[in-house]
């Protein structure tokens, strides 16, 4: 039998105890002494060493772990708490501890943390706002029951080289489609009537542009909740109306108003209307936010309903199978059969027509066709914003990666110690991930605060109607939470993989981990950030250039000298209009005065007019037509290329004016005054020949970025209520003329308030959409620039940290502060140059894409690229100079003290 080494066994036994936590110095020695006592006692009883040892240890130990636990409990402040090694090791239970460590680390590195949180928070906040905007702008018309099966029929006419898709279509199209195609099970037609209409009940008068005329089938296509009345019969009889709940409340103060009458006035003389039903409001998210439906028979007689050229918005409901493709394939034959001939006769012999089906839910974000009842949202804006939102999120993540890998050296020793103490890499990855998630969660909270501050501005820019309370809706909070978690996870993944890669031995040796001395990744990321910020900035700059360009472009009339007045609405006051105008014309500052029904701030549509060329051929000319009063051309400040204006002294003269574009387009420049306009009656028969008495130089009403259309100008000498009067004032600042004008006005129209506008202001407002878009982009760009700068600051502070000793040695060897500054700044400038090599083309692409929306636009030059580069350069220099200067001026002794 081998000799049993008692001493060694006891030592082994004690060592086994030492693997357990929970013993304090002396505990194990005492237990060892106790074991010896037991063994001694057993051996005295005559047992051999081996069995004594076995018996004694059997008595002592249930298990080493249990023993340790008992010792821990005896010393613990609260004996009921489990010892740490007995606690659950699942990551959830570890989170608070990780967060505690994270907070400790954050306290040490406040500026980094603030930069990181700000970067994340800003991007989360903007993403939230953009999301709210996207959410508001999308999902229109989906609340109708059969939304997926409802289509609007679009009328797409081409003639004489013009292509005009229209939102409304001939009256008989809907009913004919229903009777001809089994796929169409219902149809309805709507028209918007006139401009402003009023409903009156007693003293309450509601004026609105949201009243529609519709046929009795409206409710068969659009599901609407009827509160009172019968929807089957509601819209059958003439002079009946269906009100929405809110309108009924406004008019009557209650909703059970079926059978009541109200007075309706609009394009027709006031008439009594009977309320036949009250429906729930159709909601904000619809492209047809109607407030009242007036029966079709109030407006249209049978003759008009069979007129293929009398337009209405036509919607069809398809069968359960929603056989839209089958229906589409049948449409060409349909339009050939019913529409082609009519159009050839009435519009142009070359006219061709196509019908399209537009899904109801897509209408709101689709392009606007001619005659849309309401302006649409912009899909393009939504797409651009969503793209920028993703950019922002990516940039904030990049920023986190940048800043946390930059500070990784500091965490290296922590990783080393934790690994030495037995942490696995998985544990550590999780630990660092939970840190980044923690940070992102804080950022999420900060983001909510930022959003509260930014919401009013954002709403103003985008027209979003949201309150701070909406910000805190459940969905939004969940979005912010999810966004924070995702960003924390995405941003933290690389840094945690990176930091936990350190070998413990290397990590604990001073200077052992030269983490990312080259740092290609970080530099690459900075380049990406710069490139994003730079290309956006280039684009914004180009938008600014274009806005200036269109505002300053010569539009062919004295837009900055024109004052605009609106004549009173009442007939009585109009009697003094003629006297007012002639007195006005005699004032010395006034170059010209004219009346026009036509608005210089809006463009004009194109029509087809039968003309006779100077050589005597008949031409179907595509000309826009406007009607103006006497002295229009002079008042505008436009010139006559040839010929003259309408003559006030020969009111019976039959003449028209054309513009230069019209003359050039039809090649009449040799002898334009021999061209004629052929007037026609309703059947299309020529009834008379009108001379072209003058050719006007081109002028461009509306947006100046469109081409000047060929134009025909008719005389309309009548004075109607609410007509515009244009006054061309020969003054540097036409507004200074206002007091004098006001006095004159007071004299002639004492009961009417004097109001005027400078035409140029109104024209400039046409570019509000572009300006809004520019503002929005600017704000977003600011954020991208800020995030980039945060990244740069992070990188420079890291670089100066890593190169501290190098800088110190250089200084000792006689390097000057400037040399060191250059040394440190050089790499950033290189990065900036590389970034702009990328940003330039991207910016160019974005800008030229955007510019292509305008038929006339500014040229893309290198100026925006250069300017943007300078701005970025300036920002970069500002960002790095603090750290670089501090590093360059630092006392070298401090950096080298530990060598």
């Amino acid at each position: 039998m081998k000799n049993f080494d008692l001493q060694q066994h006891i030592r082994q036994w004690a060592n086994q105890l030492r693997t357990e936590q929970g013993f304090e110095p002396g505990d194990i020695e005492e237990l060892e002494a106790n074991l010896w006592d037991r063994i001694d006692a057993l051996m005295e009883e005559g047992q051999d060493a081996k069995s004594a040892f076995e018996k004694a240890t059997e008595k002592t130990l249930s298990s080493t772990r249990e023993l340790a636990n008992e010792f821990y409990k005896a010393k613990a402040v609260n004996p009921n708490v489990k010892p740490p090694w007995e606690r659950s090791t699942s990551f959830i239970t570890k989170l608070p501890a990780h967060f505690k460590v994270a907070i400790r680390h954050m306290k040490k590195r406040k500026s980094y943390v603030i930069m990181n949180i700000l970067g994340l928070a800003m991007s989360i906040s903007f993403s939230l706002l953009i999301w709210m905007y996207v959410e508001t702008e999308s999902g229109y018309d989906q609340h109708y029951e059969n939304a997926g099966r409802i289509y609007r029929v679009i009328f797409d006419v081409k003639h004489d080289g013009i292509h005009v898709p229209q939102a409304d279509i001939g009256q008989p199209v809907g009913p004919t489609m229903k009777s001809d195609f089994p796929e169409v099970i219902e149809k309805t037609r709507l028209r918007r009537i006139g401009a402003t209409n009023t409903f009156a009940k007693g003293d309450i008068v509601i004026e609105s542009t949201d009243f529609f005329v519709t046929d009795p089938d409206f409710f068969k296509v659009f599901s609407a909740e009827v509160l009172f009345g019968d929807k089957e019969t509601a819209l059958t009889a003439p002079n009946t109306v269906v009100l929405t709940e809110s309108l009924a409340m406004q008019l009557f103060g209650r909703t059970d108003v079926v059978g009541e009458t109200l007075i309706y006035s609009g394009v027709r003389p006031p008439m009594d209307m009977k309320v036949k039903a009250v429906i729930k409001d159709l909601g904000k998210k619809t492209h047809l936010p109607m407030r009242a439906l007036i029966s079709y028979s109030t407006y249209f007689d049978q003759r008009e309903l069979i007129n293929w050229l009398r337009k209405s918005y036509t919607y069809v409901l398809l069968n359960e199978q929603n056989e839209v493709e089958t229906l589409r394939s049948k449409l060409p034959d349909f339009s050939d059969k019913y529409l082609a001939e009519v159009l050839r006769q009435r519009i142009s012999p070359t006219a061709t027509v196509k019908l399209h089906l537009q899904p109801l839910t897509e209408i709101y974000l689709a392009d606007e066709f001619l005659g849309e009842p309401y302006p649409h949202g912009s899909r393009e804006n939504l797409e651009i914003l969503s793209t920028i939102m993703i950019f922002l999120l990516v940039m904030a993540c990049i920023n986190y990666v940048n800043l946390s890998t930059a500070t990784a050296v500091e965490r290296a020793s922590e990783v080393g110690i934790r690994k030495t103490l037995g942490s696995s890499r998985g544990n550590l990855i999780f630990k660092f991930l939970s840190e980044s998630i923690f940070l992102a969660l804080i950022a999420g909270m900060v983001a909510m605060l930022i959003s509260i501050v930014l919401l009013p501005y954002f709403s103003e820019i985008t027209g979003l109607e949201k309150s701070v309370l909406d910000l805190f809706s459940g969905t939004n909070l969940i979005i912010v939470l999810l966004l924070s978690l995702t960003m924390g996870l995405l941003a933290g993944l690389y840094p945690s993989l990176y930091i936990t890669r350190f070998q413990p031995l290397m990590a604990l040796k001073p200077g052992g981990v030269g983490v990312g001395k080259r740092g290609w990744l970080r530099k690459g990321l900075i380049v990406i950030q710069y490139a994003i910020a730079g290309s956006l900035m280039i684009w914004i700059f180009v938008i600014g250039q274009q806005i200036n360009f269109v505002k300053e472009r010569d539009v062919g009339f004295d837009k900055s000298n024109l004052l605009e007045l609106t004549l009173p609405e009442d007939q009585a006051a109009l009697q003094s209009a003629a006297a007012f105008l002639s007195e006005l014309n005699e004032l010395p500052q006034v170059k010209g005065v004219t009346k026009a029904n036509f608005d210089l701030a809006s463009g004009y549509g194109v029509g087809s007019h039968l003309m006779k060329s100077p050589k005597g051929e008949q031409v179907n000319a595509n000309l826009a037509a406007i009607s103006v009063g006497y002295g229009f051309v002079e008042a505008l400040g436009a010139q006559f290329v040839v010929g003259r204006d309408f003559n006030e002294n020969r009111p019976s003269e039959k003449g028209v004016l054309i513009n230069q574009s019209a003359m050039d387009q039809y090649g009449w420049s040799d002898n334009p005054l021999k061209a004629k306009y052929l007037s026609r009656d309703r059947q299309g028969e020529v009834t008379g020949e009108w001379d072209v008495i003058g050719v006007v130089s081109d002028f461009k009403p509306g947006e100046s970025y469109d081409m000047v259309s060929p134009l025909i100008i008719f005389l309309d000498a009548r004075t109607t209520p609410g007509m515009r009067v244009l006054v061309n004032v020969d003054l540097q600042n036409p507004a200074t003329f206002a007091p004098e004008l006001g006095k004159l006005w007071e004299r002639h129209f004492p009961d009417n308030i004097f109001e005027f506008q400078v035409l140029e202001d109104r024209l400039n407002r046409l570019y509000a959409k572009e300006e809004t878009f520019q503002q929005l982009l600017t704000v977003l760009n600011l954020i991208t620039v800020m995030i980039t700068i945060l990244g740069v600051v992070g990188l420079i502070s890291f670089t100066t940290e890593v190169r501290k000793k190098e800088i110190a040695i250089r200084k000792i060897s006689g390097a000057r502060v400037e040399t060191i500054m250059t040394l440190l700044s050089k790499q950033f400038l290189t990065l900036l140059v590389i970034a702009f090599a990328i940003a330039g083309p991207i910016g160019y692409y974005l800008s030229s894409n955007w510019l292509s929306n305008f038929s006339i636009h500014a040229k893309f030059t290198m100026l925006p690229v250069g300017f943007t580069f300078l701005i970025c350069l300036l920002f970069t220099i500002m960002a790095i100079s603090y750290h670089a200067l501090r590093a360059a001026n630092a006392n070298p002794v401090k950096a080298l003290r530990y060598e």
Partner: protein
Amino acid sequence: MAYKTLVAASTKPLVLSILSHGKSYGYQIIKNVEQLSNGELEWTDAMLYPVLHRMEKDGLIASEWIVLDNGRKRKYYTITAKGKEERDTSKAQWNNVNTAFNRLWGANLTLDLG
């Protein structure tokens, strides 16, 4: 084996009472208790030592390492003044319990069970 909670409750008074007879060490205490209880109370190391440490921390007993003739060390415990007080208190309590039981189980007891 005695009931677990009873063991837990009686450990401290037992240790204090044993140490009142003079200083002693862990194994000796275990042996003493075993003999005193006719082998009914068999304490384990895992039970006793933590209790000793707790009592020491609470100031009821004090300890010292003593090097034995064979060169080995052993930790001896002595009762402190505070420990004596504690012992007297618990002695009174246990006596009360004891008296109650003795009476209950005595030969001629009549209980008024109302």
